[in-house]
Symmetry: C2
Subunit: 293 residues, 2 copies
């Protein structure tokens, strides 16, 4: 008989991920702050529960997909939280992007109650979540990973076990460094090219053919050509991740000068009211600087 | 009858490029400061000339591949320079990576003598030069580009006309922004991952599968895994390019905050005696910062 799964956090990412678990045939218990997504999931065959505790009481494996570390701490360890409903043997998988240090702390507290935990943040965006094509970066015991693998396969395509609890989160943060900094580099390069009078389409084509080529350049080319920056992945969320990155760098003793600068540029984007745009919109700040606005 | 070509500057890049022109059947006149490469080329069928002026007197199309703007200015406009030997109708192609503003100035002076000029910097490194597989970014009149195209095709694979004189150079500088900044991002990300205890090979694999994927990551993976940084493209040369980039940014009124920071990190690498390493060695500086050395 299939394991019963729980899913808490039915936002832009969580909702399609949970739907893919239903499609794969898993009995599913869900909980979320917003009513709409819960109704959507119950219509599709899930059962609703009134609290994280109530979910934990009914399932073999519990997944969370929440905005940030405090949300996960509250849901996992707070009043009416997972810890209150968990029986020994529960498998808990947090797929949010949070502080890996927070993940390790939560895992330690849950382990004392016999709960095994994996951290498994994802990359691939809403599209990847809908298509079940996410890249899933997993930290935790190898044996626990093996148990969870079929569940991950219902949501993602590239599934990598990277090490002990927190390793998934650290890998995701490394990913977010590269993406934010590379988007900023693209912003500076294309702004220089624009002021030099170059045609943007030709420039992107020439850049994409050489060592400057990247998935960021490929994926964001339509934004750069139309000069519109609908998300995609929001500046606000990437700014949150940059905060987690700097916090981790401080905790581990890793100075991150370029990431720190890019964090400030993202902060400036937000003060200009562009936190809701796609993260590739960092180019608009550089364009402002070059055009005196 | 094939046009007679001239080639000045037979360094790491120029020498194999000139050889590919000989292989394509062009009569070739060469000049270089070092004797070895000149003898190598004459053995292969080229004629040697004693000065840039002497080359210019004997050829239909003259190519230069030199370290930096002052070298090109001297060879083009100095004593015994191209300008002294050039007849009206000469086509001059500078394939060096220099200031596009200097290119435009040189082009203007040569145009007064009836010489047409293209700037055509390349990307692809020594390997690309040997294999005739360079990416060539060309600026200048379209009609002049069309005349030069068969010559470019003997040296490169991706050949793009980007706009008027200087457009090739500005595109190359945009390319160099992205590469230097992305290598620094990789350095910060992988240093954080290392201090978090992650396995580097697994991390690179997970990063390469998502939005952080890039040609830099792919090409430099062997360096990151072996922790050796044999060039490739030297820190010293990329540092020179970063200087050209900042100079162009200043001239065009484009603030480049991230590039400026990366320029300082490359400067710090050079003070540590690592200017001769591959540019991916910027990670070693970040590793030093994190390990207190």
């Amino acid at each position: 008989m299939a394991q019963t799964l729980g899913f808490i956090g039915l936002g832009i990412m969580g909702r399609p991920m949970a739907k893919n678990l239903l499609k794969a045939g898993y009995p599913l218990v869900v909980h979320s702050r917003s009513k709409g997504p819960v109704e959507d999931l119950t219509t599709a065959g899930a059962r609703a529960a009134t609290s994280p505790k109530a979910v934990a009481e009914q399932v073999d494996v519990l997944i969370t997909m929440l905005p940030n570390s405090p949300d996960v701490e509250l849901v996992a360890l707070g009043r009416q939280g997972i810890v209150e409903g968990a029986r020994s043997g529960l498998l808990y998988i947090d797929m949010s992007t949070i502080s890996p240090i927070a993940s390790q702390k939560i895992g330690k507290e849950l382990a004392a109650r016999g709960v095994r935990m994996l951290d498994a943040p994802v990359s691939g965006g809403e599209r990847g979540a809908i298509d079940g094509a996410l890249s899933i970066m997993v930290g935790g015991e190898r044996a626990t990973f093996d148990v969870a693998l079929p569940i991950f396969q219902a949501m993602g395509k590239t599934i990598t076990h990277l090490g002990p609890l927190g390793a998934g989160g650290f890998t995701k943060l490394a990913n977010q460094i590269i993406v934010a900094v590379n988007l900023t580099a693209l912003g500076e390069a294309l702004t220089l090219a624009k002021k030099a009078g170059l045609n943007r389409e030709l420039t992107l084509k020439a850049l994409g053919g050489g060592l400057a080529g990247s998935r960021c350049l490929d994926q964001k080319t339509p934004n750069y050509l139309s000069n519109t920056y609908q998300p995609g992945f929001k500046v606000d969320l990437h700014f949150k991740d940059l905060g987690l990155i700097m916090e981790s760098g401080r905790a581990l003793g890793v100075p991150l000068p370029t990431t720190a600068l890019v964090q400030e540029l993202f902060a400036a984007l937000r003060t200009r009211g562009r936190g809701g745009l796609d993260h590739s919109a960092v180019i608009t700040l550089l364009d402002d600087l070059a055009s005196g606005t």
